[in-house]
């Protein structure tokens, strides 16, 4: 893109023109910057930020923009776009706003060029030839930088949610519970199994209660994942008790003919924990009763 932008122009002319362009933008920095901020406010963009903040950011963007035009390198601008995105994404700035402000800047600068070379259409054409490709590239860089940063944040959050959504908890020595809430997909099932196996090893668990009260629906694939989780746990020497199968899920499983014979199941979490405690040799007794016995 950089290459073609240059090839359409005679080499010496292009550099000359660009220098002239940058000089013009530097000269009118204050006026153009203010015009840009005015247009941003008018278009009601960046409303999550105060006017002062918008003005400060606009100044930095403007300077970086001019620098990128002058040096024809995008590295500094890319870095700036990334740090800008990091700052404004948590404040709820949307993609269309960022694209909007960059396009506005492009428009403001183009208009000032129109104004300057209005009496010399030939020169205006050549200046625009030099300006347009560079300006497009810059707009592109900032927008892409923003979207990439956003995607990074989103995938980070997804990962965090997944981690949070499969807690492996120890309720007694050698007894773990794993409440599953939400949708089970193959990726999550795998992650869940890995986490559980790790938990079994670090806690030296002998019994695990998997509670699926919070699982809304289950199909053959998910049921098979569950069977695999149970088998893998058993290979590490831990018994698994599955609790909280809703009547709907029980019916689905019977209908699709999934073999749950390998699984121990109990109606609810309480029942599961009671069975688990029994097999571990625990006995829960109300204190008053045990005192009476003593």
């Amino acid at each position: 893109m950089q290459q073609t932008g240059r090839q359409t122009l005679p080499i010496d002319g292009a550099i000359e023109l660009r220098r002239e362009l940058v000089a013009h933008l530097r000269e009118n920095r204050t006026a153009l910057r203010e015009e840009w901020v005015r247009r941003i406010t008018e278009a009601q963009l960046l409303r999550a930020m105060t006017n002062q903040e918008v003005f400060n950011e606009a100044t930095s963007v403007y300077d970086n923009y001019v620098e990128a035009l002058e040096t024809d390198t995008l590295e500094t601008l890319q870095a700036y776009a990334r740090s800008l995105s990091e700052r404004i994404i948590p404040r709820g700035v949307e993609t269309d706003e960022v694209v909007g402000i960059v396009l506005l800047l492009r428009d403001v600068l183009a208009r000032s060029l129109f104004g300057k070379y209005q009496n010399n259409p030939n020169k205006l054409n050549r200046v625009l030839d030099a300006y347009e490709p560079a300006a497009n590239r810059i707009a592109n860089t900032v927008a892409v930088g923003f979207v990439q940063e956003r995607e990074r944040v989103i995938s980070q959050q997804q990962e965090a949610i997944r981690e949070l959504s499969t807690p492996v908890l120890q309720v007694r020595e050698r007894l773990l519970i794993l409440p599953i809430i939400g949708i089970m997909d193959p990726h999550r099932a795998r992650q869940l199994t890995e986490q559980l196996l790790r938990g079994i090893r670090t806690n030296r668990a002998r019994v695990v209660v998997i509670d699926i009260t919070g699982v809304a629906a289950m199909d053959a694939a998910v049921a098979n994942h569950l069977v695999q989780t149970v088998e893998a746990s058993r290979l590490l020497g831990a018994d698994v008790i599955v609790t909280g199968l809703s009547p709907e899920i029980a019916q689905t499983l019977v209908n699709i003919g999934v073999d749950l014979g390998k699984m121990k199941t109990m109606g609810d979490l309480q029942g599961g924990i009671e069975v688990a405690e029994q097999s571990l040799g625990y006995k829960v007794v109300p204190t008053n009763q045990s005192e009476a016995v003593v």
Binding site: R190, E194, I200, R201, A232, L235, A238
Partner: protein, 119 residues
């Protein structure tokens, strides 16, 4: 490669130190069964902690060992299966039904202890 088989009371403990070829696996099975007979052991613990892979042949052999020792009146406990190995095995559909499992050697011995007490 030889698999050392140690005797501890009535329990035989076999620790597989590294990946075994199919031929090694077969020899191990013969040696272990001979020891069960000659030592009159009542339980066998096989430790596979050092194995990164348990393929279909190894799984089948372990299952066979468990069945055969049971015919001689001894129980088999498989210990030390690594989490990654367990994941791979269930994904490949390899089962060890009828073979008792425990986390490690200590847990395996504790399991046998509990069984004896219940008797």
């Amino acid at each position: 490669m030889m698999v050392p088989i140690l005797k501890q009371g009535h329990v035989l403990i076999a620790t597989i130190m590294a990946a075994l070829s199919d031929e090694d696996m077969r020899q191990f099975r013969e040696a272990l069964l001979d020891r069960v007979v000659s030592s009159r052991a009542t339980a066998v613990i096989i430790d596979v902690m050092a194995m990164d892979v348990l393929d279909s042949f190894a799984t089948r052999t372990l299952r066979e060992i468990a069945y055969m020792t049971r015919l001689r009146g001894a129980r088999t406990v498989l210990v030390g299966v690594q989490p990654e190995v367990a994941m791979t095995m269930v994904q490949l559909g390899l089962h060890l039904e009828g073979v008792a499992t425990a986390l490690d050697l200590e847990e395996g011995l504790a399991y046998l202890d509990r069984l004896n007490r219940r008797r």
